[in-house]
Structure formats: structure tokens, C-alpha cells
Symmetry: D2
Subunit: 504 residues, 4 copies
């Protein structure tokens, strides 16, 4: 935004508030830049209440999710409408041009100012557009043409479909793919890295660290596809006040086609049928996909979090953005990045509830969806914030293969119990589960290795003699007991690398 | 279950409790039928706490969702395993046959009895199967072969995928299609039936009653497809204790193929990767689809509920199962069927929350999903109960076209305001929104029709003269102002009739 | 904040961004006011994502709930600590003074800037305080004394208890009492205004409009008391890193008393026992009380909303802040204020869920409560916004007594059924419920008044003859059948006026 | 229930279903016992869908929460009504006696059977009572007197208040106190048992195991008091169809007093004002207190669960009801009892959501609360089931003091960092936080004890020389650094023992 150059002698008393400052500059013929032009709207980000805008923000999403961008998207939808009106000769091309130019000038600030009088946000938008149509020939036609045939939610639903779709396509899904890529990379590096498996927190059969990551990567990959579907399913509408295309029918013989043309300008699909609003299911589906995708990431965070316990130490992160000390315990290395991801998950967890309730919109709609939907972008920002944080943590997280091996070795004496039980049974020993269980308890109590106790038992010995050499070898080196973990991990990596065009 | 025929002289003292009764009959060599055989398990349904089993039950779903059926499905999965073991010559065909026959004899009652000792439900199941293997040649091999290579959740996840899928395919989705069909039928009958539209509860532009139903039918149709997808996405597993196929690797060179073969016997898909459990997303997706489908039905219920207000009376239901009197006000016709649907929706509304939390299963799994998942079948029963209730209400619901018309006529004086405003604007009148708004307020205050006030205004009159004859006609008969509602309604009906093979 | 007076010749190129502008002014020795001083923090409120800060804000709450105020409150807690350290001669009074003065100078902006380096918000606060201690005698002691014995959550928990308590005491509860007062006022005016009762949306026995409001007023009154209790239950702590008072024990012999003294400076109660954090139940209790109080208000909103249906029209609101037209239907009077209240309720509905999960803080605490708690103030703002909106609607809402009477008269023919049934039964008629029910159905079908049908029945007539004159009178004037509604309504008004010191 | 004695020759074909069996016995004049009398209601508990009734049941709660008991409680409320009618001479004492005797004979089974015709549960109850009034003198008066002045929810709300209150007072709260007692017992035994504290899963300053339990015990104690308050706040009503006491006003001059008398018979408090229903807040308050109390227990469970990790092993449980093996890994000791508690918590977590929605009951009530409230008892059963399970686990849980000490000793080198930092600062060292932090990192990297590095630093050494002997001693024995943990733990134990009358 152009600023007239020159010196302005300004008295410091003008600094008492943004408005006064702006007035003084204006008195000197200086058109102020955006950040001062609507200076009455300026706030310090620390005067805010919601942490979304000062602590957990994602600047790249502002162009979709700020209120300013919402107004801009709504104005774009109004323009698409008049473009089609002009194309169909229902208004002149000139009128459409005037409206289009005017629409680009509209700011959120003026619409809010006008709304104080009109008590209606879209009427305010229409008035704002009209006010920017210059006093030239064709003005009258243009003024009267703004918003023709549209109802407010033709604009709101369509603008939301547009901006939410773009935010996901341009920022959020690419961020998810970066995270997926980072997981796949570590997966490939550690596809053979032995780790003790844990179920119910207790040592179970071995896995590899790459296999563990493959579990999360596969699930995240699926959620990315689900998010894409949910985003692609977002629909707009131009079917008027109650969905019958009544208003459009006054002017065109084919209102459904007319709707498709307008939405076509924006690349948005029409809903098959609407009331005043599009079917609310598409919004709750997207929120479900969002919460559930965050659930996968939070699951990974929880896993890595516990692996950092000092008693385990199988992974570690350096001090920094995501690991901090305590204000009183300077030695601490608290994995606050992972905790933050889990905390945001808790906060967003119940976000589908209002969405399901929005499915019950009375008759041809009630407005009780409105405030709820105005908070949807915040949820997407928090989600993306967490995706980015997970990426940062992933990059700094160090798997400690030696420590994994050390713990595995401590577990080995027990976990050999599974193949032992299975091979005994396969070789005809009837009560292998009970026997192995009893010996394992004894091993725990006495501290002697399970296999030692087994070998000391002459009855069992005769069954063990039937084992194949490979089976015997496995008994003495349980680290071989990882099944097809490395191969499966690698297959997962290749599958998603190909599907999501990630370079391994 | 066969009962030996004959007369049993029974002393009434034997009636004091189910067990004694059963013992006496057994003493006479009478093998008791199922309902008495495990007579210690008999309870009166009024001794129950959960209304699912005595008030909101769906008997057709018991064969999938009762605990007995769960045990039966788990036993079927154990059989599929040994069939493939035999096919691959890892056990004899005779052993597989013995296990198969034994598995069919297992009852929930015995597994619960054994569980009291084993403290583990699947170990109990295995022991129960083993106990039914008769003392014949090959018994030893068979006993040792039960459950070989499997971990508990190979059985549990697969059995759940199987029974839930079948319940939806055989009962719940067909019930939904019946409901959809009933809606489509009424839709077609009333596609032209004029009704005033209502937004924010206030009269808006007209719709048709068939168009209103088309809105719900289209949304329900989409949810049916989503439920189908969610059901088809249910996966089983045979990848062992931590998902690495470690146990299977002891016996077969190709454990992933081995898994696919076992699941193939049951027609269940394997998951691409698992830990001890299948990816938890598939379960929360199905719950989401369920809650959201109920949301559509509850939305319809809310709409019909309010249309039955005595001041509106646009639809009505006869006294009966879904409309009852009050215990003190005998004249009442309370639409309790519709209220019940909305109440069940409220109850099931937050059911995805535990599902999202199940996505955070620690390391290779924790068991905190277990109790949650045991309640999933109940949610499906309540859902189907509501679908059936909605169908019953739909069949008894009478649209009152004459009353719809009467209310429409009362609204007409106002709702003409939309086309009036649009046509004035299209004919060059700049402030048509404000003017029509002001006149509408005046009309309300004075009780005079809006058009009368318009015609009394000479300035407006000159614009009205520019209207086409068709536009003029519409002004004097606003019932024409329904856009393409009837056509759109019919298209919806044909679309879903075709898609879901419903006869219109 | 003082601004040096004088003229600053400023080149417009300095306007390109807030920081440059601020630098130029500073170069002229002008200490900028708050809104420009941290000009890098300035944002347009329309660049925000969360509607809490641009659409649903309550400016009076900023001094408690903005991030700036949070920092201020935390600094106050640090001051309370050093005051007690000085009182106990553990540091000099001078050191405490220096810290106290420095603490008042800290801004959120600097703490955030420092946090980028320290990666810890409270360490950043401590550094910011230290940086404001001037280079005078005693500086060293003061710098080393800041935060002594405290852990971060001693500060955070206590500051939150302080500001949340004050916000409720100073703003939110007074707002609630204003709303209660407005309801009581209308209640008293309409305590005798007859209205048909409605259960299941169907006409039931009569009430008065004042009685209806008394129902909401009594429930809101109780919630106000519950909120007060929940606010009074908020506790602070000064028990150190794991709640054992270890750090304080290094310096004082009576650390629990020491804690009580510090909190005493602020008027905050200590918790009986803590870990690093206060018991999380107090926070979820307050959120529960908040959501539930909003539930009462949303219930009232729903009631008034439906009474404004055009077919009912028992209450009305003028066009204005809470009733708006449509962008395409200028005649509409949409009660958007009431809808907004219900919408905010839907949004806040599940807000206790993360609170319950915060109850599971691992061992001596994990940080997964942190992001969740940072959003608590937003919930309180949205709640207060709704309370204020409800007050505004209440003031503009007009009960239409004549319309209430008109509808009552339409209902009277039916609702007489209750006293008729009861009096018939009391006079010995055995099947009065069935008979009255049957006649009511007949009345509905034929359109004849119920009493006419009753009088036409000779069998019933003999029972009716046994009625007392008062009972007969009531039969012919059902408007008398309001029980003790007016008295009860008035009692409620007097009770709460007295309890909450409201002038009737 | 009396059974006529004698021999019945019964043909086994009669066994085909319960009804036939019952018929045959009846044909022989044998009045069957309860479990067979309503034999058509018999089900196997394994034919049930909801696990509440076959897996997680609490038999002691059946007398409050089974459907049979609900009917019984409702019948008791009907009796209280007629007792007061008789006391006031509105009906004869004989009529009240007849009704009272009849009411005791009513079974759930008959009310359900009648409900199939009446389509209303309370009308069915009234008919069932009437049907049990014998054909004696006064029958007519009695039949006509049943339910006089009452509306259904006078009965339902009051019966629920009665049975829920009693269940909590007689069973659930005593169970909670037992759990609290068990915790206090272990607390006292281990009030001095040193354990490393953990925040963010990382080692923090030391605590004692008794102190840890005191944290949970204090919070549970408070929740017990909150539950008591919530239970005491449950109210009944006898204010009729819309809360105006209209029906009672037909018969008594003082209907509010009349209501108080009826409820007085049952020991239930009347609500200050009602519609057809009592204020819904009391129900959601109780559910909140329930979920939140379970949250405390789940928090304890989570803590103990992680302390059982094999790498930690600070507590342990023997194999048994709450620790089980795996079906394939016989050596496993999975703490399934603790996992079950956390799982039930997840399931009940969102149970307040439907309760908040019930606060929006339309006008004088809608019925959408009905199904929701019918599930409340199930939630209480699951809660109590978890309380009992927590008690059982507590009794079997063994704290391993030696292992706690061993881990503490591993942590000691680091955790000394807090007192070191504080004492350095208190002795004038300015940047003690940074320095200690840096040395701690170095200690971790090099594996050398922190104090060794400190002592090697001459600058620090001069500050350390200023430490008091006590402070020096603490540096070399960090196990002393437990502040007032043991005393605080003991105080908590004494406080709650006294408050809840628990013997320590």
C-alpha cells in the first residue's frame, strides 16, 4: 500500500492512541500503510486472550484463516457471482468489473464498522463493496447488482470451502507430508535397530525401532489420505435462502447450472442439495479427520516421551526448543515439545462434539452453527502447529541404539519364553504355556535365566532335543526373533514414499 | 440343542434356584436346552442395569453382539488358524478337525468359568476348546496345536472385524436403507406439497415437503455410503504379539502370506502393519460414521418434532407406539418416539472421545482400549434401535398438506419480500433492501400486506412496471416461488433409489 | 505510561513497519506509549484467527485474561515471595524493594523475547525482572534473590488462582447477578401473566410467564453460588518442585507457614498438599460450573427462541443488535442474539473433557495440562460474553401477554382434561383416564370442545354433579388452573433478591 | 416367594422354552419362584450386549439400579403419596393400605407387559398397582386413588433421587472410604520411604512414597465430600404436570406443604421450583463428581502402572486377578487391573456431555433427557466397579523400597542441582542457574557426578565454603532433601482418617 513520502512534524501528544496518530498523519495528506490505516484495530498480541494468536500461531496460515482473509475470500465469492451474471448478460461486463475492483478494496475493518449499523456481517460486506464502487458511469447498475440472487450462506459456505481447502492443500497437508517424510527417513536408518517390544508397559517380543516408526508412519499416511478426501469433499452452494434456487429462478432458466458455473470460477463443487446451508456432515468429517490425525501424532509423541525416561533412555533430544530446564532445577531436560503435542491433542480432542450438534440445524437452518464454525480455523492452526512441532522434534530426536540393545539384553532371558512355549508345544509338549509361565516366574524370583532353568529340567530337555538347529540358534540368540519386522518396515516406507511422492 | 424325551418326576423343592433345577434334570439323563443348561447364568432381564438389554434391544443383532456370539466368533477365528496350519501340513488334518468340532461346542459360560482361574479371557477360550477335544487318537497333537502362533488380539481384533462387519451388512445397513426408502417414498408423494421455509425459526422462502425430506434423504444416503466404507475398512490381523510375525516365523517362511491365508478363510482383510493390535483409527472411523449418521436422523426427528407443535401442526402422528398420553393429562399426544431418537443421539454423541484416546496405545499396545471396545456393540445396538424407531415413526407420520398451505398463506405477505427486493434491484432500484425491509416492518406493525404498501408507493410503482408478466404473476402468487424444489427432490429420490437399489 | 512532549519531524518512510516507526521516535528521545513501545507486537485484530479476540471479546476482562495481564500477575506473585523473604530477614528489604520495582516494569513482550533464548517462560520472567534491577547498590543481592525457593508452577498456579478469582469476583459474577436481576424484574412484572404450559412441545396445564422465568432464575441463582464456591476453592502453592517444600526447607524451619505467608500477601489459599502443581480438580470444578451455568442460560435462550416463532409469537424483540434481517430477505427478523448464546454453549459444551484428563498428571506432574490451561481464560471470556448478550436480549425482549392469552384460550378446551380426569376419579369414576383420553381424541377430531362432549355424556354427568362449586367454576374458566404459580414465582424472586442483594 | 411342595411329572418337551416350562408347572398348581415365574424374562447373561451386566457388575448395587428395583422404588413413591392423601383424609386409610399392599406386589415384568398396551411406563405402573388391589370392599376407592395429583415425573424424579442417594450412601461411598483407608494405610507405612520425584517423566527432587499416596488420598477425600454433597443435593418433586401444583390445588389448600409431606415420608427434599421435572443441574453435578472422582483414581492407577515398568520396578503386584500372562507369552506379568481402571475412566470420561444437554429441556420439559438418564445407573455401577478394583489392586500392590532407593541413588548426582543452585545464589553467586545447568549437562555427558565437577571449580568453591554445616551435609546426602514430605503425608492421613472415620 502506497505511502506518500515527506516529513510530517508530529507532536508527541498525537501518540496517545492509534486513532489520533492516524488522524494527524491523514491531516498531512499521508495515506497510512495497512498496519496504521486501520489503526483503531491495532492491538498488541499480548493484549490477546486466545493463545492461538500469540503462542501457537502459524503465520503461513494467516492468509487463509485470519478474519481479514475470510473477508477477502467472501469478497472473491461475490466477484465470482457477478462474473457469471455478466457472462450470462444479466448485468453488463462493466458492472462486473466495477464490483470486482471494489471487492479487492474491501477490508475487514470497514465491514466490522458497517456491521455495527447493519447488524449483519454479509449485508455489511455488500455495503462495503458498494461503497468502493466509484462514482462513474455504470455505478448504479453495479451497486444494484452486488450479491444478486445470493443469500449470506452462499457466500459464507463457499468462502469457507475455498479457504479451508486451500489452507490444507497449500500448507497443512504439505506439512504432514514433511513429517511423514522425516519419520520414513529415521525408519529406514533404523529398520534393523533392535528394540525390546513392550505391551502393557512390560517387555514383550522384540521389534526394531524402524518397525515402530513404520507403525506410526503407516497410520499417519492413511490419515493424510483421509484428510485429503475430507478436504476434497468440501462443497459450496449458490442455491439461495432455502436451497430451492428461488432467487436465481427469477433470472435464469437453469439455476442449478448457474450455481455450478459460479462455483466453477472458484474451483469449488456444488452440494447435491442444500437448505440455506451445505450439508453439515462435510465439516464434522474434516474435524474428525483432523482430530484423528493428531491422535496418531500424539500416540507417537507419547511413545517417544516414555522412551526418554531416565530409566529407559532409548531416545534422547538435545536441550533446545523442545527440551527445557526447570526454573529451579537447572539440571532438568524436560521433553516439553512432546508434552505440548499431547496437550494440544487433549484440547482439540472433543472438537467434533459441536460439529455433530451442528448436524441438527432446525428446519431450513438455524444459526447455532455460526459461532462454532468461526472457531474451526483455530483448530486447524493448532493442528498444524503440532504437526510442525512434531517435525522439529523428529529432526532432533536421537535413537540410542546401544541403550536399546542393552535393555533388550536384559529382557532376553524372559522373552525367549514365547518361542520356547511355541516350540515345546509344536514338539508335542502338552502344557507348555503353564510350564514356561511357572519357570519364568521362578526365573524372576531367583534371578536365574529362564533357559538355564529349562535346561535343568530333564523332561523338557527331551522336547528341546527335537528342535531344529535354527530353532536352537534362536533360543540362544533371541535378537534373531524379530520376524519380518525390518522388511515390513521398509515396505511401509516404500509404499508411502511412492504414494505421497516423498524422496527416501 | 437336542433334548432327550421323556417324563421327569420333579419335586418342586428343586425349583429353588436354576442350578438345582438343572442338576435334577441332569440326574434323569436329560440334557437341558441352552437356556437351562447354563442355568447359573440365567438372569431376569429386569435384574439388569443397562437399558440396552431390556428396553432398547434389537434381537436380530444378538447373534453378532451378545457375549455368547463374541465367544463364537472368536472360536471361529481359532478354527480358521488351524485350518491353514493343516493346509500347510504343520498339523494334521485330523487335529484341525478335532479342534474345529471342539470349537463349535464352546460356550461363553465355560470360558467365563475358566477365566476365573486363568485370569485371561483368551487363555480361557483356548482351555475351553482343548477341554472339548475328545480322548481319541490325535488328541495330544490337537490340544497342543490350538492357538499356535497366535496372540490374543489376533483373535479378538479379527473376531470383532468379522462380527461388526456382518452385523452392519446383514442388519444395520439394510435397516438404514429401509429408512431411506421410506423417506424417499414420502418425498415422492409430497415433492410438490408447498410448505413455508423456516430459517432461524422465522418464515423464509417456500419449499416443498418433499424437498425437505430430500435434504435428509441425501444426507442419510451419504452416511450409508460412509458407513459401508468404514465397515469395509475393518481389518483383522495374525501378526502375533508385537506385530512382527515372530511366532509365525518359527514355522513358516512367509508369515505375511500365512496371515493373509488365515484371514482369507474368514473374508477379512489384513492390516498393512500392526503392533499387538490393528490400527485403532478404523474403529473410531466407524464410530464417527455411526454418530454422524444418527445426527442426520436426529436432525430429521427434530424437524418433524417441531412441525407437530399444536401451533404449527404441519405433520401429525396417531396415538400409538410413538405418541403417548401423560399419566395425568389424558388428552396429551406426546411425540415420544421422536424424542427418544433425539435422546439416544445425545447419549451416543460423545462416543468418539474414548475412540480417539484409544489411538494413543503405549508402545506395542496397552490394554486401556479394552473396556472401551467392549461397549462398542452397545452403541451399534442403540443406533440400530433408533434407525428402526425412525422407520416406524416415518411410516405413521402424516403430512398435513392443507395446514402447510394455510401457514404458507399467512407467510406469503412477507416472504414476497425477497423476489420483490431482487426484482426492484435488478430493475435499477438502488436501495431496495432497505426499502423493502422498512415496508415489511410497517406491514407487520399495521397488519397490512406488504404488496399493498408497495403498490401505494408511487416511486416503487414505476420500477414494478418494468417487471415481466411472469414476475408480476409470481408477486401475486408466491406459491410459485419454489424454484426447482420439486425437480431437485425427485432427482435426489432417483439418485438414491438407483444407488441403494431401492424401489420407488 | 509517560510520553515526553514535543514535536518530532518524521519522514513517512518510517511508517513502513511498526518497528521502524518506534525506532525513529526513540531516536528523538520520545518514550513511546504502550501500544507503540512494543510495536513489533502490534497486530490488527483482523489478522487474528481466534474470534475470541475480535468478535466475542469482553474488554473488561483483558486486565485479567490477556497475556500481558498474566505476566503482570505472575510478576506480582514473585514480589509477594520476596516480600516474605525480606520480612523473615532472609534478604534485605532493599533487595525486595528493588525486585518489586523491577517487577512492575516487566512486559509480556520482553518475557517472550527472552523465552526464545531460555526456552522456558518462567526463567524468562525471572531474567526480565533481573534485567530491570538497576545498577545500584544491592543489585547483586536482589538479582540472586529473585524467585528464590520457588518452582515455576508456584508462580503459575498462584497467578492463575489470583487472576481467575478476581475476574470472576469483579466482572463475571457481577454480570451474572445483573442478568439474574433482569430476569427477576420481568418475572415480577409477569408473575400473573397466563401462558399455556408446554411439555413435549404439546400444550399442557397453564403456567404464568413469571413462573417460567422463576424456573430459570432459580437455577441461575444456584449456579452463581456454585461458581462462587468454585472460585473460592481456587488455591495457590509455594511448595516447590515436587510439593515437599524442599527448597524452602533450605532456608526456613517452617516451610508450610512460609508458604501461607506468601499466599497471604495475595489473599490466596494454599493447597493442603501438592505435587509440582495444585490439585487439578479445582480447575475442572470451575469449568464444570461455568459450562453448567451457561447451560441454564442456553436453556432460557432456547425457550425464548421458540416462543418467537411466527406461529407462536408469545415474546418478541425489536430489530437491532440481536435481531437481524437476512442479506436477501429484508423482511426477516432473525433472533440471532439468542442463537449466538446457544452456539457458544455448543462450543463450550465439551470443555470439561480436557480438564478431566488433566487430573491424570504423571507422577509429580507432566506438562500436558499446560496448553489446555492456557485456553481456560478464553472459555471464561466467551461465557461472560454470553452472559452479557443474554442481559441485552432480556432487556429488549417483550412478552406479549395478549398473544399468550390467545393461545391459552385455544388450548383450554383440551387442557381442562387434567382437572376433569382428577375430579372424576376423586368422585369415584374408575376409568376416568381412559374416558377423558378418548373424549379428548374425539374433541380433536370433531373440533368440538371437550367439555361439550363431557356434558353430552349422561354417565359422566352424574359424577360432575358431585363437583364442588369451585371445581365447577374452574372447569368453565381453566385460566384459574395455575395452582400456586404466581406465589411461587414471587417467592423465588424474593429469595434470590435477598441472597444476591438485588433490588427488585 | 412360596413354592407349593410336591412332585410334578414333567415331560421334557416342556423344556423348549421358559414360557412353556412355566405353563406346565402352573398347570400343576405350582406357583413358581421369582426366577421362573416371569420366565419369559429370563435371559442368559451371555446373551447380553452391555458388559455392565455380565462383566463389570456389582451385585450389591442391583437392589438400587436394576430395572426391577427401579419399579420397586417408583411403587414406593406412589405409596408415599397415598399415605399422605390418607393422613389428610382425602382418601380412607383403608384405600391407602390396599394400594400399599398392592404396590409391593408389582413386578417390572408386568409393568413392561402393560406398557406394551399403554405405551407409557408410569400409566403401566398405575395399572399394575390397580390390578393387584383385591376385589374387596374399598377396592373402587383405592383404584381411583392411585397416583392422584401426581404426574409421571413426580414419581420418576423422586424414585431416582431415592435410589441413587441410597446406592451412594449404602454402597458406593463406603467403597470409596475403604479405598481411601487402604491408601492411608500404605501411606503411613511408607511415609518415610524415599523415592525419586519425577516431573515430565524426568528425575526431579525426592519425595517419599507415602507422600505420593497422600497426594492421591487428599484428592480422593475431597471428591468423596463432593460426591456426598452432590448426593445430598438430589431432590424430588410433587408439583405436578408443569410444576405449578395445579392438580394438588384441586384437593389441598397448601400444595407446597403437601409436597413436602409426601417427600418427607421418603426422606427426600423438594426442589424449590420445578417444571414437570426437577432442575437438571443436580444430575449433571453428580455425574461430574463421579467422573472427576474416577479421574483421581485413574491418576493413581497411571502412576502405579508406570512404576511397574520393568526398567523401574518400584512397585509390583503378584500374578492374580489383576496381573495376567499373555496367551502366547507365558512369562508376562501384565498389570491388567490398573489398565482396566484407566479404560473405564476413558469410557466414562465424556458422560457429563449428555447431562449438560439435558439442561436445555424445552419449555416445561421435553423428553430428550429420558434415555440419557436411564443410562445413569450404569455409569455409577462402572464407577463402583472401578473403585472396588482399585481397592483390590491397592491391597496386592507391593512397594519395593530397595528399588526406590536404588533409583534414587542413580538420580542423586543430578538432583542435588536444585539445592546447589539455590545455596549458591543465596550466597551471592549471580548466575548459579546457568552454571549449575552447564555443569549438569557436562556431568551427564562425562558420567561424572555433578558435585565432583563443582568441587573442581575454584570459583564455585569459594561460595560453597559459605554454606552452613547442615547445608554441606545435605549436599553429600541428598536423601535428606525431602523437605516436610513425611510430616505432610502423615497430616493428610490423620486429617482424612478423622474426617471420614477411618481407623489408621
Amino acid at each position: 500500500m502506497a505511502v506518500t513520502r515527506g516529513i510530517v512534524p508530529i507532536h508527541t501528544s498525537a501518540l496517545k492512541d492509534p486513532q489520533t496518530l492516524a488522524d494527524v498523519f491523514r491531516a498531512h495528506g499521508v495515506e497510512l500503510p495497512g498496519w496504521l490505516r486501520n489503526s483503531k484495530d491495532l492491538v498488541s498480541r499480548f493484549d490477546l486472550v486466545s493463545p492461538t494468536d500469540f503462542r501457537y500461531s502459524v503465520p503461513e496460515l494467516d492468509r487463509y484463516f485470519s478474519e481479514e482473509s475470510f473477508v477477502r475470500h467472501k469478497a472473491r465469492v461475490e466477484v465470482a457471482l457477478v462474473r457469471v451474471l455478466a457472462r450470462r448478460k444479466l448485468i453488463s461486463a462493466r458492472a462486473a468489473d466495477l464490483i470486482s475492483t471494489a471487492s479487492r478494496r474491501v477490508t475487514a475493518s470497514e465491514t466490522y464498522e458497517i456491521e455495527e449499523k447493519t447488524k449483519h456481517d454479509i449485508i455489511a460486506l455488500v455495503r462495503a463493496i458498494q461503497s468502493h464502487i466509484p462514482n462513474v458511469e455504470g455505478r448504479e447498475e453495479a451497486v444494484a447488482a452486488v450479491h444478486r440472487t445470493a443469500t449470506s450462506y452462499d457466500i459464507v459456505n463457499t468462502a469457507n470451502a475455498l479457504r479451508i481447502r486451500n489452507a490444507f492443500r497449500q500448507v497443512i497437508i504439505p506439512d504432514l507430508i514433511k513429517l511423514e517424510g522425516a519419520w520414513l527417513k529415521t525408519l529406514m536408518e533404523h529398520k534393523e535397530t533392535l528394540q525390546v517390544g513392550r505391551t502393557h508397559t512390560q517387555w514383550a517380543e522384540p521389534v526394531t525401532f524402524g518397525f515402530v516408526l513404520a507403525w506410526y508412519a503407516d497410520r499417519l499416511g492413511r490419515r493424510i489420505l483421509q484428510l485429503r478426501s475430507a478436504v476434497n469433499a468440501l462443497e459450496g452452494k449458490f442455491s439461495g435462502a432455502v436451497g430451492t434456487h428461488g432467487a436465481a429462478s427469477l433470472f435464469v432458466p437453469d439455476p442449478a447450472k448457474f450455481e455450478a458455473e459460479i462455483l466453477g470460477v472458484l474451483g469449488v463443487k456444488p452440494a447435491r442439495i442444500t437448505t440455506q446451508i451445505v450439508p453439515p456432515e462435510q465439516q464434522v468429517d474434516l474435524m474428525h479427520a483432523t482430530v484423528s490425525a493428531l491422535g496418531v501424532i500424539a500416540g507417537w509423541a507419547q511413545d517417544m516421551y516414555h522412551l526418554q525416561r531416565p530409566e529407559i533412555g532409548e531416545v534422547g533430544q538435545p536441550r533446545g526448543d523442545d527440551v527445557s530446564a526447570s526454573s529451579t532445577m537447572p539440571f532438568k531436560t524436560n521433553p516439553v515439545g512432546l508434552e505440548n503435542i499431547m496437550s494440544v491433542f487433549k484440547y482439540l480432542l472433543p472438537r467434533t462434539i459441536p460439529g455433530y450438534l451442528n448436524q441438527l440445524s432446525l428446519h431450513q437452518r438455524d444459526l447455532t452453527n455460526s459461532a462454532v464454525e468461526r472457531f474451526d480455523p483455530e483448530a486447524f492452526v493448532l493442528f498444524d502447529y503440532s504437526v510442525r512441532r512434531a517435525l522439529r522434534v523428529t529432526k532432533s530426536l536421537k535413537p540410542h541404539a546401544a541403550q536399546m540393545r542393552a535393555i533388550f539384553d536384559r529382557s532376553a532371558g524372559q522373552i525367549i519364553g514365547e518361542p520356547l512355549h511355541l516350540l515345546l508345544a509344536a514338539n508335542g509338549y502338552q502344557t507348555s504355556h503353564e510350564t514356561v509361565g511357572r519357570l519364568a516366574d521362578k526365573a524372576r524370583e531367583t534371578g536365574r535365566p529362564l533357559m538355564e532353568l529349562v535346561r535343568a529340567d530333564p523332561e523338557l530337555q527331551q522336547f528341546i532335543e527335537r528342535f531344529t538347529p535354527g530353532q536352537i540358534a534362536l533360543m540362544s540368540d533371541p535378537s534373531r526373533y524379530i520376524g519380518i519386522a525390518p522388511r515390513k518396515a521398509e515396505n511401509i516406507a516404500r509404499y508411502w514414499a511412492n504414494k505421497l511422492r516423498i524422496e527416501l
